[in-house]
Amino acid sequence: MDIRFQFMKYRKIAGIASITIFVISIFSLGFRGLSLGLDFSGGTLVEVSYETPVELEAIRNTLIDNGYEDSQVVNFGSNLDVLIKVADQDGNSSLGENISQVLEKEGFKGEIKRVEFVGPQVGAELRDQGGLGMLVALFMILLYVAFRFQYKFALGAVTALGHDVVIILGLFSIFAWDFDLTVLAALLAVIGYSLNDTIVVSDRIRENFRTKRELDPQEMIDLSLNQTLGRTVVTSFTTLLVLFALFIFGGEMIKGFSLALILGVLVGTYSSIYVVANMLMSLTLTQEDLAVPEPEGADFDELP
């Protein structure tokens, strides 16, 4: 048998590691929460580009002097670009223009590259919609996997997805990275991608359970993981290649997006090896679980 690496030997350690990170993530999400981007928090954002670097502190003080107390001023990409964010203190849609005027008046005139305003109501709606969309996606995928495979696989798959999503959210919370609509989009794409991996592994486990009856579940799962390992690594590698290209060359506006995807691919690859297989081991997947009419079975008999 071609079992090169005994993944399942380390399943307990992996399980503990997963649970620890998961719990830390939950705690961080519970206590720190996410640093919500403009899409969800509502508020006003102005991106200004200058010819020469400007003192952020000076801009900040100017804004405070003009009554914008809770404004954040940070560099965006380079020290020539300045991003000003004002929380939604009064739901006022002309804040962007007011800030531009203040800057111009106080000698910080630059090129206004971007102004965004999201009203409090719209922000709340996007928040609800995003959360709901995520749950619906998880549920639909659960249904599909349960329908195509078997409920134990479905449970494994959805546990893996929940694991991935919570850990990525946790990282965004711990490092206080901005969580906006594009990051949410990345998260949903991660759900799709991670599942992709999971299904490939599950598919092979299912196939081996049917054809290689002499192995015990642990060996079976190790064999399946080894068989799919080459593919998992190559796919993750090519995906990471393009994602790093996007992260490095794609510009500041999709940094968060590509970061979430990179994390997603890494965590997703890990979870399709350890979380799904671990779940299947814990749920003690048996031959009977798969003793359903096999569409592929007919093919095998014809083989020499």
Binding site: D88, Q89, D90, G91, N92, S93, S94, G96, S100, E111, I112, K113, R114, E116, F117, V118, G119, P120, Q121, L132, G133, A137, M140, I141, Y144, L181, T182, L184, A185, L188, A189, I191, G192, L195, N196, I199, V200, D203, R204, G230, R231, V234, T235, F237, T238, T239, L240, L241, V242, L243, A245, L246, F249, G250, G251, M253, I254, F257, L261, E296
Partner: protein, 618 residues
């Protein structure tokens, strides 16, 4: 042996030809052009305007390539951006306010492609630069307005029918009448019931309080839907007119949901000016000036818009409101002074006639009604402080003129000062023709330089990502890798072609979706190749290829369906740029399945299909 039937090859060829054809328009560069339309949106551009423009351009030194008429507009193409700007200035100086001139970039798609329906992919606002606004129509105010009109109507009706009214008022969107006797109460109830009958159903919800002779009236859901549809529809029309005044080549003004309107203005150079014109959340009221006989309860004092120290007393009753104004423009009277011509709709004309017939010599005021927002921190029931937004209404007089005759659907205001003041008043009148006030609930502005930067960065990431993947695949899988790379390239072409056919919009996250697809699309081929490698241990090359492809198919299909589910949900919940991501991701998944399975197989079949291979390098 691994062979496709001739039909399979033809199908693949057909799909690829279609994909290539519709992706082709994206390779042609854009050409600077200007679009000219009449300021009066009721008038469409014609041959005479075309000739006029041609003459002006001939006389000046500016050069142009082509001039033609298309959908109510005249399009003039130039070979350089300088000529474009130059000609715009020349035309604008000659024609002034008669026309609206919009700068544009015209695609140079050749005619044969255009005839096939070929067009370049549309760029989202984050790539083209421009503004996105989401406006919310204040339905409560529209309803309040309607109720006030209703109150007036019933007061008159009841008076004519000699019903004895004790009190009448509107509170919390409920119209209330108190009568002095049972007889009046019953008659009014009967009147209400008759009036409530509509085509779609009952218009009113009537609450009877016979003990105190009070009748309460509210609009039913059916009536509210009508009010909402009317208000949003009227505001849409007004917004379209205002947007036209901006001279943008391809604006979008659309209803979203029950009471919101999306306005997208690609390529706007000055978002602040755009917002000023769009955002005039205003309405108008025509009212009579109060005279000595007006009771103090029936009059109100207002400030003038251009001079807040002078005021005038106006009657409370509204003669005509802004939603009845269909047009307003400037002109000159017999003695050469500026005037403003106003056109009302039929109902507005009738009300105006009624109000002015007995009142020649009195003054008629135009009130400009603006909605302004005020927010304050309040403590909610959970003890948390939340922001509560309240809007208040400010009304100022923009014109107070003596009625010289009985007015109807069209009349004029003379003595309005200089031509500039006249055109300002006309603009206010047009701007004020909104059925209900609106407020901005979302705004996203992307400067033109940022849009360009985003395209460059996005395209660069696609190129670099693509190059890396191609390099890796070639090194790792050799011949099969090259087949997979060709498929990957075909995949990019098909995505572009399908986006052009569907008229989908490309956004920055959309580009990221394409990049992601490039990375993920090789997955199908990697799965197949890995499978072939495995099968090779037990089988001869030809059956290994055959089984490798067929075994991997189920896995590929399952894996892609789930990503597609996630992408579709994203499409439903996402807005703007994120929707763009969902679109390219979905398209990419479908096309990558086609190219990775069908096209790679076809190539492998052509290379290895008919040979007796001893050893397969993979």
């Amino acid at each position: 042996m691994n062979k496709f039937s001739i039909y399979q090859y033809l199908t693949i060829l057909f799909v690829l030809v279609v994909g290539f054809t519709y992706a082709l328009p994206n390779l042609y560069p854009t050409q600077p052009s200007i679009q000219v339309a009449y300021t009066d949106s009721g008038k469409s551009a014609d041959q005479s305007l075309l000739n006029e423009l041609e003459n002006i351009l001939e006389e000046s030194t500016s050069d142009y390539e082509e001039i033609f008429l298309r959908d109510n507009k005249i399009v003039i193409k130039f070979s350089t951006l300088d000529e474009q700007l130059n000609s715009k200035t020349v035309l604008q100086n000659k024609l002034l306010d008669k026309v609206i001139i919009a700068l544009n970039l015209e695609p140079t798609t050749p005619d044969w492609l255009k005839n096939l329906g070929g067009k370049p992919v549309k760029l989202g606002l984050d790539l083209s630069g421009g503004v996105h606004f989401l406006l919310e129509v204040d339905i409560d105010t529209a309803q309040q307005g309607r109720l006030e009109l209703l109150l007036d109507t019933y007061r008159k009706t009841f008076k004519e029918d000699r019903l004895k009214v004790a009190k009448s008022s509107i509170k919390d969107l409920v119209l209330s009448f108190e009568f002095k006797d049972k007889d009046s109460y019953n008659k009014a109830l009967k009147q209400y019931r008759t009036d409530s009958l509509g085509i779609a159903g009952l218009q009113y919800i009537i609450t009877e309080r016979p003990s105190s002779n009070v009748l309460l009236l509210e609009y039913s859901d059916i009536a509210l839907k009508d009010i909402r549809d009317y208000a949003v529809g009227q505001n849409l029309t007004t917004l379209r007119n205002r947007v036209n005044e901006l001279g943008i080549s391809e604006p979008i003004v659309q209803r979203q949901g029950s009471n919101r309107i999306v306005v997208e203005l690609p390529g706007v150079q000055d978002p602040t000016a755009a917002k000023k014109i769009i955002g005039k959340t205003a309405n108008l009221e025509f009212r009579l000036e109060a005279n000595s006989r007006t009771s103090p309860l029936r009059k109100e004092e207002f400030k003038f818009k251009d001079n807040e120290y002078s005021t005038a007393f106006l009657e409370r009753g509204v003669v005509v409101s802004g939603d009845r104004v269909t047009n307003a423009n400037t002109g000159f009277d017999e003695s050469g002074f500026s005037q403003v011509n106003i056109t009302l709709d039929m109902q507005g004309g009738r009300s105006m006639q009624k109000a002015t017939s007995g009142n020649i010599g009195r003054k008629l005021a135009v009130l400009f009604v603006e909605q302004k927002n005020k927010s304050e921190l309040v403590i909610d029931e959970n003890g948390k402080s939340v922001i509560e937004q309240t809007s208040y209404i400010e009304k100022n007089i923009i014109s107070l003129a003596t009625i010289q005759a009985v007015l109807g659907t069209s009349f004029r205001i003379t003595g309005v000062g200089n031509p500039q003041e006249a055109s300002e008043l006309a603009l206010f009148l047009r701007a004020g023709a909104l059925a209900a006030p609106m407020k901005f609930v979302e705004e996203r502005t992307v400067g033109p330089s940022l849009g360009k930067e985003n395209i460059e960065l996005g395209m660069r990431s696609i190129m670099i990502g693509f190059a890396l993947v191609i390099l890796f695949m070639t090194l790792y899988y050799r011949v099969f890798g090259i087949a997979a790379n060709v498929s990957l390239f075909l995949n990019l072409v098909l995505i572009t072609g399908i986006m052009s056919i569907l008229g989908a919009t490309l956004t920055l996250p959309g580009i990221a979706g394409i990049v992601l697809t490039v990375g993920m699309a090789v997955d199908a081929n990697v799965l197949i190749f890995a499978r072939i490698r495995e099968e090779l241990k037990e089988k001869d090359p030809q059956s290994a290829i055959k089984d490798g492809f067929s075994r991997a198919f189920v896995t590929i299909f399952d894996a892609n369906v789930t990503t597609l589910i996630a992408a579709l949900i994203l499409y439903v919940i996402g807005t703007g740029p994120v929707k763009g991501f969902a679109v390219t991701l979905s398209i990419g998944i479908v096309t990558s399945m086609f190219t990775a399975i069908m096209c790679t197989r076809a190539m492998v079949n052509i290379i290895y299909g008919n040979k007796n291979i001893k050893e397969l390098k993979i």
